[in-house]
Point group: C2
Chain length 217, copies 2
Amino acid sequence: MAKTAAFERLSTSDRIREVLLGRILDGTYKPGDRIIEMDIARELETSQAPVREALRELQGLRLVTVKPYRGACVREVTEQEMLEALEIRSALEEFAARRAAADLSGHVADLRLGFQGMRAAAEKGDVDAFARHDLAFHRVIVETADHGVLLRTWESLGVETRIRMFLKRTGVDLNPVAEAHLPIIEAIESGATAEAEHLLRAHPEAIYRVAGLEWAP
Amino acid sequence: MAKTAAFERLSTSDRIREVLLGRILDGTYKPGDRIIEMDIARELETSQAPVREALRELQGLRLVTVKPYRGACVREVTEQEMLEALEIRSALEEFAARRAAADLSGHVADLRLGFQGMRAAAEKGDVDAFARHDLAFHRVIVETADHGVLLRTWESLGVETRIRMFLKRTGVDLNPVAEAHLPIIEAIESGATAEAEHLLRAHPEAIYRVAGLEWAP
DNA sequence: GTATCAAAGATTATCGATAATCTATAGGCG
DNA sequence: CGCCTATAGATTATCGATAATCTTTGATAC
């Protein structure tokens, strides 16, 4: 989700947040690393206040932990936690599918678009693009449910970040992972809503199976 | 969740957050009201900085909206949103029950404790106490699942706040709401795990029914 | 009478400095 | 030698003041 450079009027704290976010994602800051407010402030030539704000927001994204008078640390994201996030995501999407029900069949085209994007990215081995299209695919289901709290909760899982980490870390072959989404589309297309719900609930397990990983929640 | 007055060493920003939270909950600040940083700072005899932090945290709880250079407004929390939060909570708890499975039967005593707390609070018409015990009851189920992301996601719904709002706003008779929790205990006690999962999924609808409200999600 | 614009007022965002708190280190005591 | 305590250094939390931005008000032109 690239910022449009046209209206590059970020506040100082927004700019700092983006810098820190980038460094956490690309591994410059590793889990457990401490982030010292004044160091960042000096480096980016600002004062301490906007750095504190940025850290609070990253805390909201669960990327750092902040303790009183002890500052901020980059949060450890273990494989177990990524697995857990996938489980919760699938539980929410099962709910979404139940609620979206009939409306979903009207969005099959969007689902296929995401699916084809995943296939293409898998061919090229482009993990970032794959994660983006996977996200788009699942987002269609959640958005169709038309349920504000659901969408916000789903987004708060930070799935894109975590899925990217997951794929990069395990280094699995993306092709079968992409194909694992096809049955979901087919179930929706054929109106088998109960089947779609079940597939979504079992999605993480299916992913693990086709990726040849052990499913041990 | 009453603070134990013993270690009342809140930071300034924590104290401010509690004050603002209380005023939002009790209606002193109404939806749409603007909260002006310096007004609060002057009133509570602090500076602007901790007020800003408190507002950011309330933004994280989705109780206020903050726009750049325009300050904070109390967010409208519609009945629909509270209902949606209850739905997501129940979807998560269905997952929790499935995952906790057998372990849940070892926590029946805790569940009964929460249940009795609800009954007592219902007798006295004490909404705050009721919400606290309701929260404790449901938390047992979620914690037994031993699933970090689940617990965090569940907490992020801000259920206590919203349930308190819900109960106060609708002014329902708390007694039948308390009793609606008994079947869940009984299902767990008798080892009917599938039944327990189903009851949890249908919990918000059951609450609405016994409260004599219309269920229109 | 209405629309446009500019200045004044109000409020947020940021700054630089100080106070409060934590952590590591070194010294005293058993 | 190990454990507790005091102190120094580092870092966070808060403050008071200033800069940046938004909003309102009032004057002017049409």
